[in-house]
């Protein structure tokens, strides 16, 4: 027998104070299973103990928000009686340990958060950050993560339509894999997790339970099984086939009135799902683990409660619908087992082999969960960059930038993701600033994007947080969509370090400001802390997943140029080179403050662009982001296989600052009638200048020189295949 004491609690990740609280709540020494339940429910992952005070400050409301944070995923009204259900979630650590399975199960997990609410998943996106490409390890991780995302998403038949990829040495020992899923449901048919109905059966469906991913701390306690080390890796293996069956079976059951409450078994599987369902419903729950479908023999209560086996769900159903529900899961060859029932005790009681293994009052388990207001220190402001000379010339810089790992073509990655399954993908990866997916059977479409610029957040967390939200909003706007809401994935280092907690707090402040001004609330999200190796934190990375709606899918805008159009820059461009890719790639410096985001201007320019797209005045549209104006134009040229003749940089601004500055709130648009367009901008008092004319097969820069679109393409396409397809 293992002795339950503070040392064991510490090895489970509970502090002395937290363990004292457990003793107080229980009024006795907890059992091993009880200690396990407390440790996972009070873990950073489940309790948000370091981040909760800050998350509460995020704006979460708007007339179109149906469910904000607190449910499995956020829900927004998208018109026509439909709702979009979406969330983003990280699988950073598992993807470092085993890139393929880590990424694959990340996709599986976020899919479940969405279909558990009654939504059919219609799109996946991802936000990936990797270390220095020159390290062999980085290559192995990229290969595994990309295969894993494709392996799972392709098999379940949800198109992967967008995402982003960055490289930076700060991620050498800690890659980030953030996966986002978007689903569609009828807005009056949303399923929630609050349990109800005393006596109602608690049903387990999906895959059998094995000893997958049981808390590392316990792994070390070899008492459970002397030879277990080798036999029980903490890695989860995903089974997308079972997930696909689970999606179909759940949606089939959801078309009936059988389900009272439903929740996926995510992190801390049976524990968190049962505790949260009962807790939210203000009821009690009794589980008999003898009935849990098991894949392995001799599993203990502790193991079953903490197992993170994938592709499982927990439901509370109406007792008179049991036979019908069982028949549906039988049809799909999935396990279906009644493992308990709802009680009025306000406690979770777990029995196994006739022994009560856990009996915990639910209210204190939730209410007395630790909550820390951790100390913060502000990130010092960066001094202005000062003048920087151009060492290489405009075209040489363009060639270098368009081919660098952060800007080169992502086709090698996106060609491994099925982006067309479903037959509704209007704008595929690379074709527009946001992916556009039509809603089957309607003219409506959703626009989807993921964004954050970690180097900005690192230099100035508040401005960087603001920029991340603004960029997501801008990308949705650039395809003509009305931005509705975001999900976020807060990836940071160790929150016990004041400078890291300071980054977190400031990023949240910046995000909140942007959300407010842009009417773009947060409806779901995820926090991933302790992203450090050997004491070195990652760049603070609050990844934003944005969702917008287009009333008419046919009106969505791409970035590809066509010949015979005027090119116009809308927005104020002063040539901000601080933290720009030009500065990093051309001069080797990561310096200066990031570009400021003027939220009022952002909103005014964006609303104007959207209105002009709707009015049919714009033929192609791209925002200015990484790499600046000239990279934006080059990307438009590549996407449309059409060149452009560009005017000289305006007087009073260095040409390299004009072409490569990363000023915010700016768009490049191709318009058929520039004069009419300028007039519209003038009326709205918005800055718009002509920058050139489309046509031909080259980018011709007045007073600078010419480079062919095909040369640019060769540079753009080279990096990934050359890197990944050579041993």
């Amino acid at each position: 027998m293992i002795e339950i004491n503070q040392a064991l609690a510490a090895s489970f990740g509970l502090s002395a104070e937290e363990y004292a609280n457990v003793l107080r709540i229980m009024g006795r020494t907890p059992t091993l299973t009880e200690l396990g339940v407390f440790s996972v429910m009070w873990s950073e992952h489940c309790s948000y103990k370091s981040s909760r005070v800050w998350l509460k400050t995020l704006p979460t409301k708007a007339p179109w928000v149906i469910h904000g944070p607190g449910e499995n995923a956020g829900v927004v009204d998208i018109g026509d009686g439909l709702a979009a259900v979406f969330k983003m979630e990280s699988h950073n650590h598992p993807s470092f340990i085993e890139p393929y399975q880590g990424a694959a199960t990340g996709v599986g997990g976020i899919l479940r958060d969405v279909f558990t609410m009654g939504a059919r998943p219609i799109a996946n996106l991802n936000a990936l950050r990797f270390g220095d490409p020159s390290l062999p390890r980085t290559k192995r991780i990229v290969d595994g993560v990309v295969r894993g995302i494709g392996g799972y998403g392709n098999c379940v038949g949800v198109p992967t339509v967008g995402g982003e990829v960055n490289f930076h040495p700060a991620y050498n020992g800690n890659p980030l894999v953030n996966a986002m899923t978007v689903g569609i449901a009828r807005k009056d048919r949303i399923f929630l997790s609050a349990a109800a109905g005393i006596g109602n059966p608690v049903v387990y469906v999906g895959s059998k339970t094995g000893r997958d991913g049981i808390h590392g701390a316990t792994m070390a306690s070899t008492e459970f099984d002397a030879s277990s080390e080798d036999k029980r890796p903490t890695v989860h293996v995903g089974d997308p086939f079972t997930e696909k069956l689970l999606i179909e079976a759940c949606l089939e059951l959801m078309a009936t009135d059988a389900i009272v409450a439903i929740q996926d078994m995510g992190a801390a599987g049976l524990t968190s799902s049962s505790v949260e369902m009962a807790g939210k419903g203000g009821v009690g729950i009794e589980l008999n683990l003898d009935h849990v479908p098991q894949r392995e023999t001799h599993m203990t209560a502790y193991e079953m409660m903490l197992s993170e086996s994938q592709e499982r769900m927990l439901m509370v159903i109406r007792p008179d619908r049991e036979a019908m529900a069982r028949a549906i899961f039988d049809k799909w060859d999935l396990d279906f087992a009644i493992i308990g029932h709802i009680t009025d005790t306000g406690r979770i009681v777990v029995t196994h082999n006739g022994v009560v293994e856990a009996d915990i009052p639910l209210a204190p388990l939730a209410d007395d969960a630790p909550l820390y207001n951790r100390p913060t220190t502000e990130t010092p402001k960066r001094p202005p960059l000062g003048p920087v000379a151009d060492p290489v010339g405009i075209l040489a810089a363009l060639q270098k930038l368009i081919g660098c790992p952060d800007l080169c073509s992502r086709a090698w990655i996106t060609n491994q993701y099925d982006s067309t399954v479903g037959g509704q993908t209007v704008r595929r990866p690379g074709a527009a600033d946001a992916a556009v997916v039509r809603l089957e059977g309607t003219n409506r479409a959703l626009a989807l994007t993921t964004d954050v610029t970690p180097r900005y957040v690192f230099a100035d967390p508040e401005m960087g947080g603001r920029q991340a939200v603004a960029e997501a909003w801008r990308n949705l706007t650039a395809v003509g969509a009305r931005p509705l809401a975001i999900t976020d994935n807060m990836n940071f280092g160790n929150p016990q370090k004041p400078e890291i907690m300071g980054q977190f707090a400031a990023a949240i402040r910046g995000m909140s400001d942007a959300c407010r001004v842009l009417d773009f609330p947060v409806v779901s999200g995820n926090v991933s802390l302790y992203n450090e190796t050997e004491g070195r934190a990652i760049l603070p990375t609050p990844a934003i997943g944005g969702l917008g709606v287009l009333d008419d899918a046919a009106k969505s805008m791409g970035i590809g140029l066509q010949p015979g159009l005027g090119l116009v820059l809308v927005g104020t461009l002063v040539g901000h080179l601080g933290q720009s890719l030009w500065l990093r790639e051309i001069t080797g410096r990561e310096d200066g403050p990031p570009p400021p985001v003027d939220l009022a201007a952002e909103r005014a320019v964006g609303d104007f662009i959207r209105a002009q797209i709707k009015a049919g005045a714009i033929t192609a549209c791209h925002d200015i982001a990484d790499g600046g104006l000239l990279v934006a134009v080059a990307e438009m040229a590549l996407a449309g296989a059409c060149g452009a003749h560009l005017d000289r940089a305006p007087k009073g601004i260095d040409p390299h600052a004009f072409w490569f500055g990363e000023d915010q709130g700016c768009y490049v648009v191709a318009v058929l009638e520039p004069d009419a367009f300028f007039l519209e901008a003038l009326v709205m008092d918005l800055p718009a200048i002509r920058i050139g004319q489309t046509g031909g097969g080259d980018l011709k820069l007045d007073g600078v020189g010419t480079i062919s679109v095909e040369t640019l393409r060769a540079e753009h396409d080279r990096f990934f295949p050359a890197w990944m397809e050579t041993p």
Binding site: G157, P240, K244, G423
Partner: protein
């Protein structure tokens, strides 16, 4: 044209296929569960794309043993129309209803991109609305589309005009570069000797709407609707 789509567990392009068929025929196809055993009153049976049984073991291997398969064979034996796309093509080869096999893509990676197909035989109920030699675009999305058969089989397929589509360049040339998955003789789709069973890897059903980038796939469904 009364069409049925067979739903094997794990397939995922049945909805895409239903949309294309509905568009061309004006009415929704019947969805048939893999455990059903009859296909009464059906003119065209479609085996859609996806990952039947997770593509575990070999793509299409387990689906080829489904309870519905005898009915599909009987339908084909009566001269009924059968079309297998992607996973459906793999199922048809695993079931022995079309010759050869589909191996792992030669580059060992999943391929999701548009490809171009040259129509090799336009005198079938599937391809009548195309011209022989015409080049059409279609999305591909597969990890195992590398068509393999022994030389004798390949010679026979070619000799009897049973190659329906080949991977080609936009101008219709057959090149190694255009043959993205490494298929023998660039074969993308083949026919049964009576020209009534078609298997092909790319997805014409995902290119039937200008909004999704084009309608190159539509004539195939229109031809079927008129068959």
């Amino acid at each position: 044209m009364r069409a049925a789509i067979v739903v094997f567990p794990g397939i995922n392009r049945e909805r895409d296929m239903a949309i294309a068929l509905t568009l061309a025929t004006g009415h929704a196809p019947r969805m048939v569960w893999h455990k059903d055993t009859t296909l009464d009153g059906i003119d065209l049976v479609v085996l859609p794309g996806g990952f039947s049984h997770g593509d575990y073991l070999r793509c299409g291997a387990m689906a080829a043993q489904s309870p519905i398969m005898p009915a599909i064979r009987a339908h084909a034996a009566r001269g009924g129309l059968v079309m297998g796309v992607c996973n459906g093509f793999q199922i048809l080869t695993e079931a022995g209803m079309l010759p050869g096999a589909l191996l792992r893509n030669s580059g060992l990676r999943f391929l999701s991109q548009d490809c171009h197909l040259r129509v090799e035989n336009a005198a079938t109920d599937f391809t009548r609305h195309y011209q022989k030699g015409q080049v059409i675009r279609a999305p591909m999305a597969h990890g195992d589309g590398n068509y393999f058969a022994d030389d004798e089989t390949l010679d026979r397929l070619e000799g009897e005009g049973l190659v329906a589509f080949r991977y080609a360049t936009t101008s219709g040339e057959i090149t190694q570069a255009a043959n993205l998955n490494g298929s023998q003789r660039s074969i993308a789709g083949i026919l049964s000797p009576n020209l009534r069973v078609l298997g092909l890897m790319p997805h014409p059903e995902d290119l039937v709407d200008t909004l999704m980038g084009g309608t190159d796939g539509l004539p195939l469904f229109q031809a079927l609707a008129a068959a």
